[in-house]
């Protein structure tokens, strides 16, 4: 059981284009965040729906929602219904797949987005957990647990000592309160990913400073979808 109830505006919302909060609005939000994580202009996307989403995405316009999110269109925006046409006009290559079974551990409303732009590759897995609420579960194979409520900073680094401490002091110096901080690595001594959720807006200067920390390979800013 979660340790706290959602907020009033989480519950009374989102304002959205129908017809399904978990299969339309939630999917658009996941794709929107994924697009924000990719740093280069998007050229190609593969969208794979799992579980309940795999079975019903056609009727619920989950494809339109995912494409809308990739175009930076949020669930409240009427353009969501025309997202495939907009994507086509912009020359995006989009492939949509259904995986009816999927790994057991996946939530029943799971979507995996594989994005390409320039020489960047990104794989994001998200779950739509009801009422438009979402969780980004993994980013390029690293475990994450982001709900899009707060801005977050993802820091990819060599698994060395000191990176977390330096990042924390940078955030403190910028006056940003850390709401959550988690570090995930694939293997000892390999690369690790720090996921920090913060209260407040993240400046580009802060991101540049984080990128200069010794051992840091990449810094990504994931904005809040609620502000």
């Amino acid at each position: 059981m979660p340790e706290n109830a959602p907020t009033l505006l989480d519950l009374f919302g989102p304002v959205m284009i129908g017809p399904s909060s978990s299969h339309t609005a939630g999917v658009a939000r996941i794709a929107y965040l994924a697009r924000k994580i990719l740093k280069t202009p998007l050229e190609r996307a593969r969208i794979t729906f799992y579980g309940s989403l795999a079975r019903t995405w056609k009727g619920h316009g989950s494809d339109k929602a995912a494409i809308a999110g990739l175009l930076g269109i949020l669930p409240e925006d009427e353009r969501l219904a025309f997202a495939p046409e907009i994507a086509q006009r912009e020359g995006l290559e989009i492939e949509i797949l259904s995986d009816y079974a999927g790994p057991e551990r996946y939530h029943t409303n799971t979507v995996v987005l594989e994005l390409e732009g320039g020489d960047e590759r990104l794989r994001v897995r998200g779950s739509s957990i009801g009422g438009g609420e979402i969780r980004l579960k993994s980013v390029n194979g690293f475990q994450a647990e982001l709900d899009g409520g707060l801005a977050a900073i993802l820091v990819l680094h060599h698994d060395e000592v000191g990176v977390i401490a330096e990042l924390a002091s940078l955030l403190a110096a910028a006056g940003l309160n850390i709401a959550s901080l988690a570090s995930h690595r694939r293997d000892k001594g390999d690369e690790a990913l720090i996921v920090a959720e913060v209260d407040g807006a993240v400046s580009s200067r802060l991101l540049e400073a984080a990128a200069r920390i010794h051992g840091v390979l990449d810094v990504v800013h994931v904005p809040s979808i609620k502000s």
Binding site: N4, L9, I17, G18, G59, G130
Partner: protein, 293 residues
């Protein structure tokens, strides 16, 4: 101040400790989490209430026809019908309004998910019907009306914290069942019942929805969803009537939500939004799925 709660008992205690009514406490809590003012939260609340009215007006303005052909303007038919056995204006409007809002959703129009899109007509349907039939001075900017929507949200927040609001996890008891419980509490609030009685109305309503299947035809949020919004408005009004008469729920709200959670967990996947059971696999349901593929 403590902003954490996962049960109605917690919530009442937190609000009490803060010396606030439940609705003021929740608005303050949102302001705290969003790092903004209570005025900003109330302004957003008013904006969303206004959007529910836009959806309602859109749904009433012309018959809503969906791409699948499953939604064919039931709100319009019901509003125009001279054959309804319902004499009470409030009750009649609640049924029509709940349908109207949800038909707009089914047709890909703009709505406020409350708590979800498939159940978005129930609370606005009941509350706007009350306003139009009984209390015309209410509106998006009036405190009393905002508090009714907040009371509805409080019930949804508690269901989310202790169980789920996703049909895919808990069946339709988690969506339309939760929405009816929310509407029951909100209507009770508009009728001037105590906070405890509002929560009890939610318990009464939810008990009548336990185990409800989510078996949408062709996987679309249309059948049974759209008409269920009207039925659930009636469910909510029944619960508020009982609560207003002083009838208590034999099982307290938090325990009913616990029951809902365990029932949801034991329901087969075929009845949890997968479109692989129930109405979805009737001969007619399968034919619809075939036709729109």
């Amino acid at each position: 101040m403590n902003w954490k709660f996962t049960s109605s008992i917690d919530l009442l205690a937190r609000a009490g400790d803060a010396g606030l009514g439940l609705c003021d406490y929740l608005v303050k809590r949102d302001a705290f989490y969003a790092g903004t003012s209570e005025e900003a939260i109330r302004a957003e609340l008013a904006r969303r209430i206004r959007i529910t009215r836009h959806s309602l007006d859109e749904g009433m303005s012309r018959p809503q026809l969906s791409f699948s052909g499953l939604t064919v303007g039931a709100a319009h038919s019901l509003a125009a019908s001279a054959n309804s056995p319902v004499a009470d204006e409030f009750f009649g409007k609640a049924l029509v309004y709940a349908l109207a809002v949800n038909e707009v959703n089914a047709c890909g129009g703009k709505i406020v998910a409350f708590p979800t899109a498939g159940s978005c007509g129930i609370v606005p349907g009941v509350l706007w019907a009350w306003r139009d039939a009984r209390s015309p001075s209410l509106g998006p900017d009036s405190r009393v009306f905002q508090d009714a929507f907040t009371m509805a949200s409080a019930i949804g927040m508690l269901v989310a914290a202790r169980a789920t609001l996703a049909g895919a996890e808990g069946g339709c008891q988690a969506e339309c069942g939760a929405a009816a419980a929310m509407a029951a509490a909100a209507l009770s609030q508009l009728m001037g019942l105590s906070t405890e009685a509002c929560i009890d109305a939610a318990a009464l309503s939810l008990k009548n929805c336990l185990g409800l299947a989510c078996d949408p035809v062709a996987g679309l949020v249309e059948v049974p969803c759209v008409k269920r919004n009207a039925f659930m408005a009636a469910n909510a009004i029944t619960a508020a009537s009982l609560a207003a008469a002083g009838v208590r729920s034999a099982i307290p709200f938090d325990e009913v939500v616990g029951a809902m959670k365990s029932i949801g967990a034991s329901m087969p996947a075929s009845l949890k939004e997968s479109a692989e059971g129930g109405l979805a696999v009737t001969p007619t349901g399968l034919a619809v799925a075939q036709r729109i593929r």
